[in-house]
């Protein structure tokens, strides 16, 4: 019986972990092209989720809500790039850190004013009636999270490997100056990465909201763990974030069951500290060689 409970906790947690992985993947996309990330990514997840909820309330069918939400996320991502990140990158400063935090805080206040402070349910046509697999109950909703996360990541990886624009994306992350000499505009590639990253964040919001509900504070819980996953896995391995995401999701679920629900955040933070102390480039990260 005990082992079934452990398995149940681990599996349910792992599905949540995939959402962390998806948000962490969004960090990787922008880091690859510009060595910058959006510290307000959690608010972007929340804002897109609220927007999608509004679309549902307006009466749009779910299958139109998803592309609508993704498009909105991409636009938000582009906004963050234009209004914040680019200003700092043009001056070769690290100001994007503060600027993205500030834009995130604006997003938080705006969401509170527009949609209120309460957590709201996010209706979905996907059933949450569970079925049994080897004694572990799984819901179609959880399966949809897994499919959604892996599909988005799979499509973006396919884009990077199979299209010339995707290869240009890789070229900018390998050597920005050389890519410019090929006629690839680094500025546009960075915009593209922020658009994709915003879309990925919106997808995470749409997938996770039916499970966790939507509220202005959902950002902080998600973002911290996405950071943990990104730092532990390293900022250049898409495969790594999935594995670490699954692992962290399972671990925090077990921790909240065995130690107490207040300890839910602990495993992520401990992993984060350990990773920064022992392997700052991440478990799957390449050691960066700094030429001096």
């Amino acid at each position: 019986m005990e082992s079934i409970i452990i398995a149940q906790m681990a599996v349910s947690g792992a599905f949540m972990g995939l959402v962390y992985a998806l948000i962490a993947y969004g960090f990787q996309l922008t880091y690859a092209t510009s060595k910058s990330i959006n510290f307000g990514q959690g608010e972007l997840v929340m804002f897109s989720a609220f927007f999608s909820l509004t679309l549902i309330n307006v009466g749009l069918p779910y299958w139109l809500v998803v592309p609508g939400g993704l498009l909105f996320g991409a636009v938000l991502g582009l906004f963050v790039e234009r209004a914040g990140v680019r200003l700092a990158l043009e001056q070769k400063s690290e100001g994007w850190i503060l600027l993205t935090i500030i834009i995130g805080l604006f997003g938080f206040s705006a969401a509170e004013n527009i949609w209120g402070r309460d957590d709201r349910p996010f209706p979905t046509p996907i059933s949450s009636d569970s079925f049994q697999v080897f004694g572990v109950s799984i819901t179609p909703l959880e399966i949809s999270v897994a499919i959604g996360v892996l599909a988005v990541m799979g499509l973006i990886e396919l884009f990077k490997r199979k299209t010339l624009l995707g290869k240009a994306f890789e070229a900018v992350s390998a050597d920005r100056d050389a890519a410019e000499l090929m006629g690839v505009s680094a500025t546009r590639t960075i915009m593209l990465s922020y658009g994709l990253s915003g879309m990925v964040a919106a997808m995470a919001g749409i997938l996770v909201s039916p499970i966790t509900t939507v509220g202005p504070t959902m950002a902080s819980a998600l973002i911290l763990k996405a950071f943990a996953v990104a730092v532990v896995a390293g900022l250049d391995s898409g495969f790594g974030v999935v594995l670490i995401g699954l692992f962290l999701g399972a671990l925090e679920s077990l921790a909240s069951f065995y130690i107490g629900s207040g300890w839910r955040e602990a495993p992520g933070l401990i992993l984060l500290i350990l990773a920064l102390a022992v392997r700052p480039n991440g478990v799957f990260g390449k050691a960066s060689i700094r030429k001096v």
């Binding site: 299209t163 290869k167 240009a168 890789e170 390998a174 050389a178 410019e180 090929m182 006629g183």
Partner: protein
């Protein structure tokens, strides 16, 4: 084809170029030689837009291009094979070549089939690249990376090509190989501005040459004329 007039450029407050002027006529190979730190690479960077010139003009095929982004200048027909080769290490050899033709291929689908003939042309020029087409560019030897960098620049079918220090860090045998390639490219009618430490070899392939000293052109002339110039002879060709 390429005209540079009174170019000034530098890094921060230190000015490296103080009024460089040169011209590369269509179908000619022009060598830019000079000591370390004379400003040869900076000239190249200022022409291709990697570095914004503070003063002066760069005219490519009749159009002024100074101050434009490097990617714009590249799309207007200038291919710069930079110092240190700068191949895309994690990408395959073939992907590197395809990116060379980025500005004239479709962005999503069908780019590979459209580039087949050009790829074949490069593979015939550098058979070693055909063997290594699927290999990550970062795993190639220095000489092979230089071949790839030249091939990548040729993929653009540029109006003007800038080639910066192709012999840097290569074994003498490989350097000979590189110059053999440049000679073949010259026979095919390429318009090339070549920066080289090996002034002797550069002058053997060049139609015209400029000698740079402290940020501007000190001497210019055909290779034969430079060979008669005692100062150049002593400083660079001794």
């Amino acid at each position: 084809m390429l005209v540079v007039e009174n170019l000034h450029a530098g890094y921060g407050t230190s000015e490296v170029l103080v009024g460089t002027s040169l011209e590369v006529k269509q179908g000619t190979v022009v060598a830019l030689i000079g000591a370390n730190g004379a400003g040869k690479t900076t000239t190249m960077r200022a022409i291709s837009g990697m570095l914004k010139p503070t003063k002066g003009r760069v005219i490519l095929d009749g159009k002024p291009v100074q101050g434009l982004d490097a990617s714009r200048i590249a799309r207007l027909g200038l291919a710069h094979s930079p110092e240190g080769r700068k191949v895309f290490g994690p990408l395959s050899v073939e992907d590197n070549l395809l990116l060379g033709a980025y500005s004239r291929l479709p962005l999503f689908f069908g780019f590979r089939s459209k580039a087949v003939d050009d790829l074949e042309r490069i593979y015939d020029l550098f058979p070693i690249l055909r063997e290594r087409r699927q290999q990550a560019a970062g795993t190639l030897s220095g000489g092979e990376q230089q071949m790839l960098a030249i091939g990548r620049a040729l993929m653009a079918k540029p109006k003007v090509m800038l080639l910066d220090e192709p012999s840097m860090g290569l074994a003498p045998v490989i350097v000979q190989e590189v110059f053999k390639t440049i000679r073949r490219l010259k026979e095919s009618g390429i318009t090339l501005l070549l920066v080289e430490q090996f002034a002797k070899s550069a002058l053997e392939v060049a139609d015209y040459a400029y000698v740079m000293e402290r940020g501007c052109i000190a001497v210019e002339g055909s290779p034969a004329e430079l060979h008669k110039n005692e100062r150049v002879l002593a400083a660079y060709l001794g």
